[in-house]
Each structure stands twice: as structure tokens, then as C-alpha cells.
Amino acid sequence: MNADYTADEMMTVAAARQLRDGTACFVGIGLPSTAANLARATHAPNLVLIYESGCLGAKPDRLPLSIGDGILADTADAVVSVPEVFNYWLQPGRIDVGFLGAAQLDRYGNINTTVIGGDYDDPSVRLPGAGGAPEIAASCGEVVVIVRQNLRTFVERVDFVTSVGYGAGPGDRERLGLRGGGPRVVITDLGVLEPDPVSCELTLTRLHPGVTTDQARAATDWDLAVAERLTTGDPPTRHELTRMRALTATTRENGRGGT
């Protein structure tokens, strides 16, 4: 395997490539924000970044550490209140893509970011919780998930449904009245999964260069479905790597010494 880049960098590049120029994207902090900003810095200069802090059309030249960094407000087309971003922009379906991370994910793309282990009142691990995710997952035209693939995250059953993917399978989103399309693609450090058009089950459709199907299966707690025509993705280009490293370097500097 080419040692020019890490598995995380491959994942971020693969996720960035999923974002089409000119679309509006609701961006969570962390991996989604890195990938969305990389997309803007490479093939999608007109990608509209929307942050739940109320920044519509933010154009940061470095990665924000939080969803409310000053650089987002300074560069936004409009800064609106938090009730407005959810009620006027997200809820009516004005946003094309919701871009989410996950602590746990199941075969139907349901996401947990609330609690792991034990029960809700006495969990083994208390995670931050929902934030904007339940309504982003419900109302955006489609959802892109970026998450590292391993047995802790890719579980048979999520311990808590924070955000709904395809629920228990076909027809569930319609039955629940969720207006958005649900997860279109899941990008991991090993490859790409897409929902089967009939069963809605996440199916491995692409591997990153150098990764094997067995590795992906071993990192999945359920019996992973693999597409008949499994492909291998392109490695990051020199341009993608340069832009991504420039973005993350500014954040590290930022985290150390303040803005």
C-alpha cells in the first residue's frame, strides 16, 4: 500500500468527492467539516456550507475548531438565529445534503451519538447527544455519513437511535413521515458503503486502494453485504493531499495558539 497518505486522509478525500459543486450542505463539526471544506478547496468551490450556529454559506479559509468559530460568521452570506436555521432552512427541505459523523452505525444507517452500553439512565459511556443530527438526518435531501469502520462503530444494533437512517428497513422512512431521502453513502477509512436499492441494507460497493474485502468484513459486527461489482477507489491526488494538509495545519496552529 502506498504510504504517502493515511487511511484517515483517504477517508476525508473520498467523503469530499461525494459533495457536488453548487449544492447546499449542512455540516457537522469534526470529520464532516474537514471533508466539506476540502471539497470547497478542490472540486466544489460553490458548495454552500451551512453550520447549525446559523452561518449560511460560510467560506472559511482554514478549518474551524467549532461550529461557531468567528471565521464562519465573518465569511457567511448570512448569519441567522439558531431557531431560524432549523425552522426556515432545514425543516422545509431547503438543504440538499446532511453530512454527519457517528459513534455507532447499523446496517440500515441508523446513527447513535447518545449513549453506549448499560442503559440510558446508567450508561457505560455518555456521549454528547443529538445536537442538530436527528433533524438533519430527517430533513436533508440526502445524508452522507463519514465514520471510521471497526467493530465498536459498525454494530448489529445501535445502543440508541439518535438519528434515523432506514429504520428497520424498506418503507420505514415513509411510514415515519421523514421527508429527506436518508443515507445515500457511508464513507469509512476502508471504503464506501451504499444502501441496496431494494433492501436498504448498507452494502460495500468500493474499497480504498490496498484494502481487502476481508478487512472490511472483519471491521463489521454484522454479516457485511458486498456488491457483485465491487470497485476500488482512486487514491488521493497530490492536489487533494496538499489542500487537505494545508487546511488541517491551520487548525492545529489555531488549537495551539488561539486564532
Binding site: 475548531l65 460568521a73 443529538a130 437511535v161 434515523v164 488561539g258
Partner: protein, 272 residues
């Protein structure tokens, strides 16, 4: 008309043991100085309300001020977990913490209902998630016009809301700009309000994107320059990202946390 007060007097007058208290500010303009004053004055049994209980509530929870938390996202933005919050939930340290958990959309709408004088808000939210199974305050309602099933959440009416803003004039009119989050709704939803500001000025010059809270809608204003650090006040300061990164190690350890509170909150001389 809002009274101009010293921060310590404002907290003493407006924040009482057992109150439902909202400190708002969405990453920007977080009222840290007021939060520290609440810790110094030893408030107990508070129901703390906040969309994003980040480092400020980690401090209040670890210092033993809170009995209950109403929230939608409890993390250290861009860094990771809140260890005092986790310690309270997982190990009841320094005491048990009751949770009422929502999504951002739900919390924002609860403030809107409170500000609007309505008993509840309606939204498309929470559907299919496990949140309604654990949060009794998430219900469904049938639209009387379309018969659609929608989600209802009750109004939030804090006893007191505390926010930080850039400026106020001598009549207590408050001006803020940049990311203004849910502060207007949180102030208007509350029975009492305390606003800390970077500075009190004679004249509020207009600023693009400003939100103005008229003095007659605010209970008290206290000058607290730098009062949002390590958060920031657009036009006055920048976010101290290094502090947020460094907080992880401090809050991970009970003794390190107690030591930090002792040195940076309890032993701080406060200007009257």
C-alpha cells in the same frame, strides 16, 4: 428599564438556589464570567438549561451547582467529551445529575414558544429516534388542518436567563452581533434576565447583523469585559481554542479540576 449592576450583585439578586437557569451563547458570547460568579456564590440545586452545555456547564456541574440538566448537545466543541458532565452521569460525582435530553431543533423551538407566550411549540422532529422514549416532554400532536402527526415540545420558561453581549448603553439597551444563537429567545422566554457586556457606552452605533434587546425587556446589565473568555465576543476578542483543547486534561481528573476551580474561579478577586 434594565438596572446597571455589578456582576456579583446581579447574580446575587437574580439567580437563586433551585432556580431554572439558562446560560446561552452558541459557541460565541458564552457568559463565562457570570457562570464563574454563580460558582463563587455557591448556588445549589439549579436546573441548568442550555442547548450546548460545553465547558461552562462542565464547570458548573463539576462545582456541584446543578441538580438537573436540560440540553441537546453536551460536548467540548471540536475536542471531545465533557468529563465533569460524564462523571456526573456515569458516577454521580459530585452528585447525581438528572437529564432532560432534546435535539437542537427541539430546544430552539422550546425557547421560541417561551418567548412567544405559547404553551408549546410544534416541529417536524425526533421522529423515529429513541429520544421520545426517555424524554417525557416530547409528544405528538395532530395538525387540525391536515391531520398530519407532528411533534410538540413544551415552552421553556427559565426563572432567569444569562447571556453575554458586546455592548449596552446607559439605559440598558443591549446590542450583540455575529453568531447570536438563541439568546434573544432565551432572554424573552425568561422571567428575569441578566446580560453581561464587554462595555457600556453612551451611544449604540448600528452594526450590520445586530440584535438589539430593548432595555425594558432586560432585568439587569453588568459590565464584564472579557466576560466570555475562552469563548469570544466578535469585534472584541477571538476564541481561545487552545483553552478548549487544554480543558480536556483538566476536566478528566477530579483533583485537577478542583484545583483549577480553586485557582481560577474561587480565589479570583472580583471588581465590585
Amino acid at each position: 428599564m434594565a438596572k446597571l449592576v455589578a456582576l456579583s450583585d446581579g447574580v446575587a439578586d437574580l439567580v437563586h438556589d433551585g432556580d431554572v437557569v439558562a446560560l446561552e451563547g452558541f459557541t460565541h458570547l458564552i457568559p463565562f464570567a457570570a457562570g464563574h460568579e454563580i460558582i463563587r456564590q455557591g448556588r445549589r440545586d439549579l436546573t441548568l438549561v442550555r442547548m450546548t452545555p460545553d465547558v461552562i456547564y462542565d464547570q458548573l456541574i463539576g462545582a456541584g451547582c446543578a441538580r438537573r440538566l436540560i440540553f441537546s448537545w453536551g460536548g467540548n466543541p471540536g475536542v471531545g467529551s465533557l468529563h465533569r458532565f460524564r462523571d456526573a452521569v456515569q458516577n454521580s460525582w459530585p452528585g447525581p445529575l438528572e437529564l432532560e435530553e432534546h435535539s437542537h431543533a427541539g430546544m430552539a423551538n422550546r425557547y421560541v414558544a417561551g418567548a412567544s407566550g405559547l404553551p408549546f411549540a410544534v416541529l417536524r422532529g425526533y421522529t423515529g429516534t429513541d429520544l421520545p422514549r426517555h424524554t417525557a416532554n416530547i409528544r405528538t400532536i395532530t395538525c387540525p388542518f391536515t391531520a398530519e402527526t407532528l411533534t410538540a415540545v413544551p415552552a421553556l420558561r427559565p426563572d432567569v436567563t444569562v447571556v453575554h453581549a458586546q455592548r449596552a448603553d446607559r439605559a440598558g439597551n443591549v446590542q450583540m452581533w455575529g453568531i447570536t444563537g438563541v439568546q434573544k429567545e432565551a432572554v424573552l422566554a425568561a422571567r428575569r434576565s441578566l446580560v453581561t457586556v464587554e462595555e457600556i457606552v453612551d451611544e449604540l452605533d448600528p452594526v450590520p447583523g445586530q440584535v438589539v434587546l430593548p432595555g425594558w425587556a432586560v432585568t439587569a446589565v453588568a459590565e464584564a469585559p472579557g466576560g466570555s473568555h475562552p469563548s469570544y465576543a466578535q469585534g472584541y476578542s477571538v476564541r481561545d481554542n487552545a483553552f478548549y483543547v487544554g480543558w480536556d486534561a483538566i476536566s478528566r481528573d477530579r483533583d485537577a479540576f478542583r484545583d483549577w476551580i480553586e485557582r481560577h474561579v474561587l480565589k479570583v478577586e472580583v471588581q465590585a
